[in-house]
């Protein structure tokens, strides 16, 4: 998704550049809080980690393979501010050194791949962790969902930018359908790997996972066969009653943000099409035959019985979110069941090349 030069026009690139600069300025302040004094070396090493992890190809189906984007992973492992910084630095270096992504499109790329993915993933992750029971497993679940949504969200953000400043008038419905459709698939891979990675880190060094802070259980001592609270060395965390009341607030907020996201995507994709109505009218017949060929259910759903360009564009977005949730939960259950059935083969292979403690602790 590295956007090259000339893909988005100059004013939009400049505007996204300003957005990116602002977000980075905020992140620079926030990162100091997340990493204490160790910002520069640690964030640098985490950036190097993301850089390396983007080279980790995972096989998707016969012959094809994808690679991680890493935004959600960074946000959950080291916190949102540091995550934004690290991914931005990776993108900056990719742009300058490897010519991967245009220099003028740097703002677009950072906004899409560093800011949108990280912020969406972290907001969702935080919300889910608050709503779900306080266990390690729910951290894994939350990171799965967060990563799953973050990738199509970045695709949607790209579509919005394309709608505002795209240099070719491919209809927005088409761009949205293609981008979101493809990225839902990528998102599933990203989500599975992110969740598994977070799970494996949490099994070994739960203290390193930023998103799992506050999940530590109270230290208990076994005295004469029964568990007794160890004497407190530090002040109590928030009382349980307060937390359950927060949980409702978080659940409501999560639902509201999902609904909002649906509506925003609808309007965002509907608006420019209104401007290009003539162009859209030309394209409708073409579009129908194209989607009959496409075998993605999303593509069919998006435009099959809706020939109004505005509606279909919005629908594609909303359906994208819906499919995301359904597919996400299905894959999650499948993956988890398989993991609980047979963790042994992967574990034995793993023993050799990770720290020895990985093999003794199962997720």
């Amino acid at each position: 998704m590295h956007v090259p030069d000339g893909f988005i026009n100059a004013p939009t690139s400049a505007a996204t550049g300003v957005i990116a600069a602002g977000a980075i300025a905020v992140s620079l302040r926030g990162a100091r809080r997340e990493l204490d004094e160790r910002t520069a070396p640690l964030a640098g090493l985490v950036a190097a980690f993301i850089f390396a992890v983007q080279m980790l190809n995972f096989p998707v189906a016969a012959g094809t393979s994808g690679h991680l984007l890493g935004g959600a992973l960074a946000a959950i492992l080291v916190g949102p501010y540091t995550g934004v910084l690290c991914v931005s630095v990776v993108l900056l270096m990719q742009g300058i050194l490897f010519a991967d992504g245009g220099l003028t499109a740097l703002g677009v790329n950072i906004t899409n791949m560093a800011i949108v993915t990280t912020v969406v993933a972290y907001a969702l992750f935080r919300g889910l962790v608050k709503v779900l029971p306080r266990t390690r497993r729910s951290v894994t679940v939350a990171s799965f969902v967060a990563a799953l949504v973050s990738v199509p969200a970045a695709a949607l953000a790209f579509t919005v930018m394309y709608a505002i400043g795209g240099t070719t008038d491919v209809s927005i419905g088409k761009v949205a359908t293609a981008m979101v459709g493809v990225h839902v698939l990528i998102g599933i891979g990203e989500a599975a790997i992110t969740a598994l990675t977070v799970g494996s880190v949490i099994a070994v060094r739960p203290d390193l996972v930023y998103g799992a802070r506050g999940l530590t259980h109270k230290l208990k001592l076994r005295v004469n066969g029964e568990l007794v609270d160890a004497p407190q060395a530090e002040p109590e965390p928030a009382p349980v009653a307060a937390r359950t009341s927060h949980r409702k607030v978080w659940a409501a907020g999560l639902a509201a943000s999902l609904v909002l996201a649906g509506f925003v995507s609808f309007y965002a994709s509907a608006d420019p099409d209104g401007l290009e109505k003539v162009a859209a009218d030309h394209g409708i017949d073409k579009r129908a035959e194209e989607h009959a060929v496409a075998d993605s259910p999303l593509a069919d759903y998006g435009v099959e019985d809706v020939d109004d360009a505005r509606l279909s564009g919005g629908l594609a977005g909303v359906i994208g979110v819906g499919v995301t949730v359904v597919a996400g939960s299905a894959v999650f259950w499948a993956v988890r069941r398989r993991r609980s059935d047979s963790t042994s083969p992967s574990d034995t292979t793993d023993t050799t090349d990770t720290t020895p403690s990985t093999s003794t602790t199962s997720v």
Binding site: P4, D5, G6, N9, S13, I24, L28, A31, E37, R38, T39, A40, P41, L42, G44, L45, V46, A48, F49, A52, V53, L56, N57, F58, P59, L68, L77, S88, V89, V90, L92, M93, A99, G102, L103, T104, T167, T168, D169, V170, A192, T194, L196, T197, S200, V204, R205, L208, A279, A280, G283, K286, E290, R338, T343, T349, D353, T354, T355, T358
Partner: protein
């Protein structure tokens, strides 16, 4: 940690372009790309002139054409995308070789191809003539926040270390018969990523401690401060200025 860490894209040399202060080069490349992007796509000749300008820079920098062209291959995914454009875009259509193509899509494809290629070529030239350390110093001179520059420099320095770490893990996996064939093996890959994260993070903590014990107090000392003379600025900015003239002509004609 300075000398041995030249990146693979860098071509050692002593040309006038190599000798320019890094921040002038960065500014020049950036200005050039901005000018290219804001050129109207209908002015086809302008892009030809841009290419000639870049060719001249490559000649002065003694970067061989083969090297430049090979590096341009990074663009291939977008070429594929650009080729699709004439088929999916809307508006007036023309028949080319029996295929109905959108005029607008053809222009769009040309637009992305020309501007993208020129942008990539400019970045490749920059990376080929500027050392990493210089590049980071240049970014700092251009008022990028020092913290960001430090993060970038750590990333660059340890990028190879971390990548090697990952390579060793891959070799360890493969020498035990592992081959990632499908979804079932995601768990193994993810655990590798997890282990890699822990190792990177712990290395970061060690590096931080080592730095503190050597007197690090939040900012890196800059010992090789570079300044650019007026002549050097003029020299570096000749490229974007020439491009700007072409661009203005492109708008005027």
């Amino acid at each position: 940690m300075g000398a041995g860490h030249a990146h693979k894209l860098y071509r050692h040399g002593h040309s006038p372009v190599h000798g320019l202060p890094p921040h002038t080069k960065l500014a020049a490349v950036f200005a050039f790309v901005v000018v290219v992007v804001s050129t109207p796509r209908e002015a086809m000749w302008a892009f030809g002139v841009y290419a000639v300008l870049l060719g001249a820079v490559a000649y002065v920098a003694r970067v061989p054409a083969g090297f430049l062209l090979r590096r341009l291959l990074i663009e291939v995914p977008f070429v594929a995308f650009a080729v699709l454009m004439p088929f999916v875009a809307e508006g007036e259509r023309v028949d080319v070789l029996g295929m109905s193509l959108s005029v607008n899509g053809l222009w769009g494809a040309w637009n992305v191809l020309a501007k993208g290629t020129l942008g990539v070529a400019a970045s490749v030239l920059l990376a080929a003539t500027t050392e990493l350390r210089e590049l980071l110093l240049g970014l700092q001179r251009l008022r990028l926040p020092p913290l960001l520059v430090q993060i970038a420099s750590f990333m660059i320095r340890y990028g190879d270390v971390i990548t090697d770490e990952m390579r060793r893990m891959r070799i360890a996996r493969e020498s035990r018969g592992f081959e990632a064939k499908g979804v079932r093996h995601w768990g193994v890959l993810a655990k590798s990523a997890g282990a890699l994260f822990i190792r990177s993070y712990e290395r970061g903590e060690r590096v931080h401690l080592a730095m503190i014990s050597r007197g690090y107090a939040g900012s890196m000392p800059v010992i090789d401060e570079v300044t650019a003379s007026r002549a050097q600025w003029t020299y570096a900015l000749a490229l974007p200025c020439a491009a700007l003239a072409v661009c203005l002509l492109g708008w005027a004609l």
